[in-house]
């Protein structure tokens, strides 16, 4: 069948492949090539060999801090975030009282743009008039004032909380997968006397291995692009406390006007992402049968 339609498949794939080559492949080649150059806006790139990479790994504390923060966020997002999304999906799949209402409310943060969520949190956590501090003051401590985004003790946690609990995309993907599990499996388990907890633990969750793996990849890699909320709330500060690689790339390119160096960080970020995806694919054996 495939052989018979090979011509059509090729014909219809061609525009996508051409676009991919033009938009992504060429950009990637340019990114990789210019990462070995000294290049600033308006000037031609000058080849400098491995200098950018040597500086990156030996003499750049800001890069190390950004890479560390990015790594921590990838881990948190691919574990806690996916766990929250999965648990919520399993609860919603039971279709208990008000489940549709709960599903809708749960979706809200995911349909608002990152910048708007950032602004919302800035207002909510404002040390002067923010709701969180005001509530704390209501409950006895009249002098309570915490600058959540600019205090070293709370900045990382506060920024993380602007996205970590909102896992509606994971929930939707997993809900769809749960819906595809044959009803007969549940029935057999119930006939054998399995409780709801046991059904979820021993039937549902193992059946979700593929999609959970996919969610881990999606959530983890989303952290490799996270920028808007961080820029809105802390700008990477205080100090470099909430700086991540995308913001570091932005700063080196547009503030230091050092596109060559910025591109070497970009190459590192792509490598980091590829390794993460490969690890997840192997860990979750994505693509292999789950039955």
């Amino acid at each position: 069948m495939v052989r018979k339609n090979r011509g059509y498949i090729t014909l219809f794939l061609l525009p996508t492949v051409a676009l991919f080559i033009l938009v992504y492949a060429v950009s990637l080649v340019i990114l990789f090539g210019t990462s070995f150059t000294e290049w600033s806006a308006g000037r031609s790139p000058k080849f400098i060999g491995l200098t950018n990479y040597i500086q990156l790994f030996t003499d750049d504390a800001d890069f190390r801090q950004s890479a560390l923060n990015t790594g921590i966020w990838v881990v948190l997002q691919s574990t806690i975030h996916v766990a929250i999304g999965t648990i919520f999906a399993i609860i919603l799949s039971m279709k208990e009282f008000y489940w549709k209402f709960a599903r809708t409310v749960y979706m809200f943060p995911n349909i608002i743009s990152g910048a708007a969520v950032g602004m919302l949190f800035l207002c909510m956590l404002n040390p002067d008039f923010g709701a969180v501090n005001s509530i704390a003051r209501l409950f006895g401590n009249a002098d309570f004032s915490q600058n959540w985004f600019m205090d070293y003790a709370t900045a990382f946690f506060s920024v993380t909380m602007t996205w970590l609990p909102y896992a509606a995309v994971v929930t939707i993907l997993i809900l769809a997968e749960i819906a595809a599990i044959p009803e007969s499996l549940y029935e057999s388990a119930r006939i054998d006397g399995a409780s709801t907890l046991k059904i979820n633990l021993y039937i549902v969750i193992p059946m979700l291995r593929n999609i959970i793996g996919t969610c881990v990849i999606l959530s983890g890699t989303s952290m490799l692009q996270k920028m808007d909320i961080i820029l809105m709330t802390t700008g990477g500060g205080p100090g470099n406390e909430t700086m991540n690689l995308p913001i570091y790339i932005y700063k080196t390119a547009l503030m230091d006007n050092n596109f060559g160096y910025s591109n070497s960080v970009g190459v590192f970020l792509i490598g980091f992402g590829l390794i993460f995806v490969l690890l997840c694919r192997n860990l979750f054996r994505i693509g292999s049968s789950q039955h």
Partner: protein, 448 residues
């Protein structure tokens, strides 16, 4: 086989129809064009009207921006006067930062708009990248325009004898204060920095927050005070604050000023100053939560704007110079020509000449409370009546003797960007003033 032939037939037919549609669209234009050509060449001797030259112009002065009205009016009046010759294709950018980023990215690919605002390091990028055209010849051809800009403003944007941009405004920046709060605290605008610090203490004792500061974005209102502290600290401080792209921040004046700023941020400002943006600081002052804010005359309109200030607030506001009878006085970088062809360069120059000439400056003053670069432009009676504090600002500026520039106008953009992370570090005690000064020096060294 038949099915496969049918599929192939359908696909081909579809592609043919698509191709024909595209060709038809094109041919419609062609017909139109050729029709025009035929008319032109078929005995109709009337000269065809020359189409206006299109120039691209990106602006961040849109929406709620303080200068949005000014920009709109300038473009409107330009179109009324030169619309037959030049068509300005305006692209609106939602913020100053987004504008700067976009121009730098465009500059990286060598493709900048025809008219460019050279702010925040853009002028450097364009000059180094050979992407701008100097104004020398244009100005020599038009002495009136040259006079309207003035020698000082031109000199501030001249490098190696080439005038790269035309300044559209002079920034005279002191600070605004709440007269009621000052009265209740028993103080008047300070004449020395010691008095300034003691006034803060008196305001605090009277139950007021003395200063509306902010360290987010470009730390604008905080850095104006920092600049004043450095600029008034002897000849070295004044020299530092008048040097383009200082490379060494390890100076006693900078360290002393940083220590004073630390004290201000710790004791005399709003709780949200660390990390706050300009809007937070502006609100704090306009809503009567803070007694002082450092800022320029463009803020004057906000004091009587009911959406930003309480009714009658403008009557409570006074304007003052910084201690040591000093004022921030700097020329904006203004506009540059990024156009590539002679035709678009001429058109870009026409647009810039209008915006920065006497007409443009008058509009800027009347609609944006922007101080003109020419002494010929004076506020109208209507403006004086509407905003009496404008007159007060001009008087204060005329009385001051010591002048220095803003930090933003002298340092590289990466230094401007660093403040938002360095101030919290300083206040949290993670770095001393000396260490911050060292970091600033390192950051400026990273600039390419």
């Amino acid at each position: 086989m038949r099915k496969s032939l049918y599929k192939a037939g359908c696909t081909l037919a579809g592609m043919l129809m698509l191709t024909m549609s595209i060709t038809a669209c094109g041919s419609e234009n062609s017909t139109e064009n050729s029709g025009a050509a035929e008319t032109a060449g078929s005995g109709n001797t009337a000269p065809a009207a020359k189409a206006p030259v299109k120039i691209s112009y990106l602006t961040f002065r849109v929406g709620t921006h303080a200068s949005a009205k000014m920009e709109e009016e300038q473009i409107k009046q330009f179109n009324a006067k030169y619309g037959d010759e030049v068509e300005v294709v305006v692209e609106e950018i939602p913020s100053d930062a987004a504008y700067v980023d976009k121009i730098k990215i465009l500059a990286a690919s060598g493709d900048v708009p025809d008219v460019v605002m050279g702010k925040d390091g853009i002028n450097d990028v364009l000059i180094k990248g050979n992407l701008a055209t100097p104004f020398n010849e244009y100005l020599d051809k038009d002495p009136e325009w040259k006079a309207a800009i003035g020698e000082d403003a031109l000199a501030s944007n001249t490098r190696d004898g080439k005038i790269w941009s035309i300044s559209d405004q002079k920034q005279n920046i002191g600070y605004f204060y709440n007269k009621e709060m000052f009265e209740q605290a028993g103080i008047k605008p300070a004449e020395t920095w010691d008095e300034f610090m003691s006034s803060n203490e008196k305001l605090k004792a009277a139950g007021f927050v003395p200063l509306a500061l902010m360290t987010g974005e470009n730390a604008w209102t905080s850095n104006l005070i920092l600049a004043a502290m450095i600029g008034t600290n002897g000849d070295n401080g004044k020299s530092f604050m008048n040097t383009l792209h200082p490379t060494d921040f390890n100076t006693p004046e900078m360290i002393q000023a940083l220590n004073m700023m630390k004290e201000l941020l710790e004791k005399y400002t709003t709780k949200d100053a660390l990390g706050a943006g300009y809007a937070n600081a502006a609100n704090a002052f306009s809503q009567g939560k803070a007694a002082m804010i450092a800022n320029g005359p463009w803020m004057i309109g906000d004091f009587s704007d009911p959406t930003k200030s309480s009714e009658g607030f403008d009557k409570k506001v006074g304007v003052a110079a910084y201690p040591n009878n000093s004022l921030i006085s700097t020329y904006e970088v203004g506009y540059m020509i990024g156009a590539k062809t002679p035709e678009t360069r001429e058109a870009a120059e026409t647009f810039i000449r209008f915006k920065t000439g006497l007409e443009g400056q008058k509009i800027a003053l009347e609609y944006g409370n922007v101080m003109p670069v020419s002494n010929e432009i004076q506020p109208s009676d209507a403006l004086k009546q509407k905003y009496p504090i404008i007159v007060e600002s001009i008087t204060v500026a005329q009385k001051t003797q010591l002048h220095y520039r803003t930090l933003d106008s002298i340092v590289y953009p990466n230094v401007t960007d660093a403040w938002k992370n360095l101030y919290p570090k300083l206040v949290a005690g993670r770095a001393t003033a000396e260490e911050i000064a060292k970091e600033l020096t390192e950051i400026t060294g990273k600039n390419k």
